[in-house]
C-alpha cells in the first residue's frame, strides 16, 4: 500500500500496537513475578507485577521434590512425540492415496474421512468405546490412539499432494516402485513444508493436552503436565502433597510451604520451556496458518 502517512498517524498506530502487545506480555510477566515473590508479600500485598523483593524460595521447594513434575514431563514428551509422529504418518499416507486420481476408492474414502467433520457421536459414546470396549482407559496408549486421525489435516495433505504432478509417481510405478516406496522416497521429500507445519500443530496440541487425562486417566504417574498444573492450581492440598511427597491426606501445616508462589513456580517450570522455544517456530507457524486456510 503506497501513499501518504503522516508522522502523527504513524506514531499513533505504533502506540496502539504497543499497548495491544502489552496486553499479551504483561500477563506473562505477572505470573513470572508471582513465582519469584515472597509468600509474605503475597499475603499482605497480593500478587504484584513488581514485587518489593525477589526470592527463589518457591523454586527451591519445587526442585526439592521434582518427582511428579519429572513424571509429567516424561509422559508429556513421549506422548506428544510418538503421538504426533504416528498421526502424521497415518494421515499423510491416507492423504497421498486420496490425492491420486487413478485411485478407484478415492471418492468413498474421501467421504468417509470428510463426514467425520460434519457429525460425531459425541463424548459419551466415545468414552464407552475407549474405556469399555477397547480398554484404553487409564493407560499411556489413550494419549496415542483416540486422536490418531482427524479429517482436516488429511484434506490439507491431499490438497498439497495434488499439486505434485501425477507423472512423478506414475513414472516411478513403471520403474517398479511400490506406492509405499513412492510415498516415502518421492512424495515426502517434496512435501517438507506441509509435513513440518502439520507436525508442529500436532505437537503443540498434544503438548498442551489436559483433556485426555481429565477424561480417561486416574493414575497420577500418567498425568500430562497441563493436567498436573490444573490440579496444582485448583487444589491446595494436592499441591502440598506433591511438593512434600507425602501421601494425600497426610497434610502438613499450611504455613510451612509457600503455597501461592509455589503454584506459579510450578507453572513456570512446566510451561516456561514452551514460551522459550516458541519464537523459533513462529515463522513456520504463520506460514502454516495460511496453508490451513485453503479450502479442501
Amino acid at each position: 500500500m503506497s501513499g501518504r502517512q503522516s508522522h502523527a498517524s504513524s506514531t499513533l498506530l505504533h502506540l496502539f500496537f504497543i499497548a495491544f502487545s502489552l496486553a499479551f506480555i504483561v500477563p506473562f510477566l505477572l505470573v513470572l513475578s508471582i513465582s519469584f515473590s515472597h509468600e509474605e508479600t503475597i499475603r499482605t500485598l497480593g500478587y504484584r507485577l513488581i514485587p518489593p523483593e525477589f526470592t527463589l524460595d518457591a523454586y527451591r521447594y519445587a526442585f526439592a521434590n521434582p518427582g511428579r513434575i519429572q513424571d509429567a514431563y516424561i509422559v508429556t514428551t513421549l506422548q506428544s512425540a510418538l503421538g504426533t509422529f504416528l498421526s502424521i504418518v497415518v494421515m499423510a499416507t491416507c492423504g497421498y492415496a486420496l490425492s491420486r486420481r487413478s485411485f478407484r476408492y478415492r471418492g468413498p474414502i474421501t467421504f468417509i474421512v470428510f463426514f467425520t467433520m460434519l457429525f460425531s457421536g459425541g463424548l459419551v459414546p466415545l468414552y464407552i468405546v475407549v474405556t469399555q470396549y477397547l480398554r484404553l482407559g487409564n493407560s499411556f496408549w489413550v494419549y496415542i490412539f483416540p486422536r490418531l486421525v482427524s479429517a482436516f489435516p488429511i484434506i490439507i495433505f491431499r490438497t498439497f499432494f495434488q499439486s505434485i504432478p501425477e507423472s512423478l509417481p506414475e513414472s516411478a510405478k513403471i520403474d517398479g516402485a511400490s506406492e509405499w516406496t513412492i510415498f516415502f522416497r518421492i512424495i515426502v521429500p517434496l512435501s517438507k513444508p506441509v509435513v513440518a507445519t502439520l507436525s508442529l500443530f500436532g505437537l503443540i496440541d498434544r503438548w498442551n493436552d489436559w483433556f485426555t487425562t481429565l477424561i480417561y486417566v486416574r493414575d497420577t504417574r500418567l498425568y500430562t503436565l497441563q493436567f498436573l498444573l490444573q490440579r496444582i492450581l485448583r487444589e491446595a492440598q494436592f499441591l502440598r502433597a506433591i511438593a512434600t511427597e507425602l501421601p494425600l491426606g497426610m497434610d502438613i501445616g499450611q504455613h510451612d510451604l509457600p503455597t501461592e508462589s509455589l503454584r506459579f513456580a510450578m507453572l513456570i517450570i512446566a510451561a516456561g520451556p514452551m514460551l522459550v522455544v516458541f519464537p523459533f517456530f513462529q515463522k513456520h507457524f504463520a506460514k502454516g496458518l495460511t496453508i490451513g486456510a485453503v479450502k479442501g
Binding site: S2, L13, A97, V124, I128, V130, L229, L233, E260
Partner: protein, 311 residues
C-alpha cells in the same frame, strides 16, 4: 451370462489389485476412523437406552425417548443451549471484527520489524493451553490477592468477588476468547490482504480515494471470502463451545453455571456422574443440530457465492 459374471469378477479383482497398494496406504487411517469416529457414531443408540455397564451398549434395555424428554423438560436444557449459542454468536461477531480491524491496522504498519514483533506477541496464547491461561485469570481475578481488585481498590472502588457473581462472566469469557484467538485469526486475514494486487490500491488512489475508502472498497472485499469460510465453520460449530475455555477459566464453580455452563461442560459433568444415557442424548442433540447447521449454512453460501462454499 456365466462368462459375463466371471469376466466381471476378474475385472473387479484386477482393479482391486491395482488399487490394493493405495488402499493399504489408507488402511491405518480407516481403522482409526472406524474405531474412534464410526463406532461412537453407532454408539449414539445408547441415548435411547438405560445404560448398564455390565450389559454394554448393545444389551442395555431400550427406553425410547425417555432420556430426551427428561433433558428437554429440565431447566438445564434452555440454559445450556442459550449459553452455548449466545457465546458462539458473540465470539463470531466480536472475534471477527477485532481480527479484521487488527489485520487492517497491521497493513498500515510500515516497519517490517515492528510488524513481525506485534504478530509474534499476539499469537503467543496459541502456544499455551487454557490451563496456563487460567493461571493468568486467577492471578487477575483472585478476590484476595488478585491484581484486578488491587487496581479497583487503588482507583477508589470496592473489591469484587469475581467467582461469586454471574454478571461479569459474559465479559470475562468473551475477552478471554478474543485474547486467545485474535492473533491467529488476524494473521489469516492479514495473509489474505497481502494477496491483494497493489495496483488496485494505486488505481484507487489515482481516482482520489481516501485511505478509508480504499479500505472499504478494496481491502474489505478482499477479506470477504476468508471471513465467509472461517465463519461457515464457526456457524456449523454454533452448538459446540470451547470446553477448555468454559471449564478452565470459570474453574467449574457451580454458582457461575447460569452464565458459564454450556452443552460441552454439561455433557462432561453428566459423564463424570455416570449419567450415560441422558448425557449421550444431550450429545446427540448437539451433534444433530450441528450437522443441520453446517449443511444449511453451506447450502446458503453455495447459492449466494458458490466459490466460497465448503463443499
Amino acid at each position: 451370462m456365466v462368462i459375463d459374471a466371471a469376466h466381471r469378477r476378474r475385472k473387479t479383482l484386477a482393479t482391486v489389485r491395482a488399487n490394493f497398494e493405495l488402499l493399504t496406504l489408507t488402511l491405518p487411517a480407516l481403522i482409526a476412523f472406524f474405531l474412534f469416529n464410526y463406532l461412537p457414531m453407532g454408539g449414539v443408540i445408547v441415548a435411547f437406552k438405560r445404560y448398564r455397564y455390565d450389559a454394554g451398549i448393545l444389551h442395555s434395555p431400550w427406553i425410547g425417548l425417555a432420556n430426551f424428554s427428561f433433558f428437554f423438560r429440565s431447566v438445564d436444557a434452555w440454559r445450556i443451549t442459550r449459553n452455548t449459542v449466545a457465546y458462539s454468536t458473540a465470539f463470531i461477531i466480536v472475534g471477527t471484527i477485532t481480527a479484521v480491524v487488527i489485520a487492517l491496522l497491521l497493513l498500515e504498519v510500515r516497519s517490517t520489524g515492528a510488524k513481525k514483533i506485534y504478530q509474534t506477541v499476539m499469537i503467543l496464547p496459541r502456544f499455551l493451553s487454557w490451563v496456563v491461561i487460567s493461571f493468568i485469570t486467577h492471578a487477575i481475578l483472585n478476590p484476595v490477592h488478585g491484581v484486578g481488585n488491587q487496581i479497583i481498590v487503588a482507583l477508589g472502588g470496592t473489591a469484587v468477588e469475581w467467582y461469586s457473581h454471574t454478571q461479569y462472566w459474559p465479559f470475562i469469557l468473551t475477552i478471554s476468547h478474543v485474547w486467545n484467538s485474535v492473533g491467529i485469526t488476524s494473521i489469516i486475514y492479514y495473509a489474505a490482504l497481502m494477496g491483494v494486487d497493489p495496483q488496485l490500491y494505486e488505481a484507487a488512489e489515482i481516482d482520489g480515494a481516501t485511505r478509508l475508502q480504499q479500505t472499504w472498497h478494496v481491502s474489505i472485499p478482499a477479506l470477504v471470502p476468508v471471513i465467509t469460510i472461517l465463519n461457515i465453520l464457526a456457524i456449523g460449530n454454533l452448538f459446540t463451545g470451547d470446553f477448555g475455555l468454559f471449564y478452565q477459566i470459570p474453574r467449574d464453580v457451580g454458582r457461575l453455571y447460569p452464565v458459564t455452563d454450556i452443552i460441552n461442560t454439561y455433557v462432561y459433568r453428566g459423564l463424570r456422574q455416570g449419567d450415560i444415557g441422558r448425557t449421550a442424548a444431550v450429545g446427540l442433540f448437539q451433534s444433530s443440530v450441528g450437522l443441520v447447521l453446517i449443511i444449511v449454512t453451506n447450502a446458503i453460501i453455495r447459492r449466494i457465492s458458490p466459490e466460497n462454499a465448503l463443499f
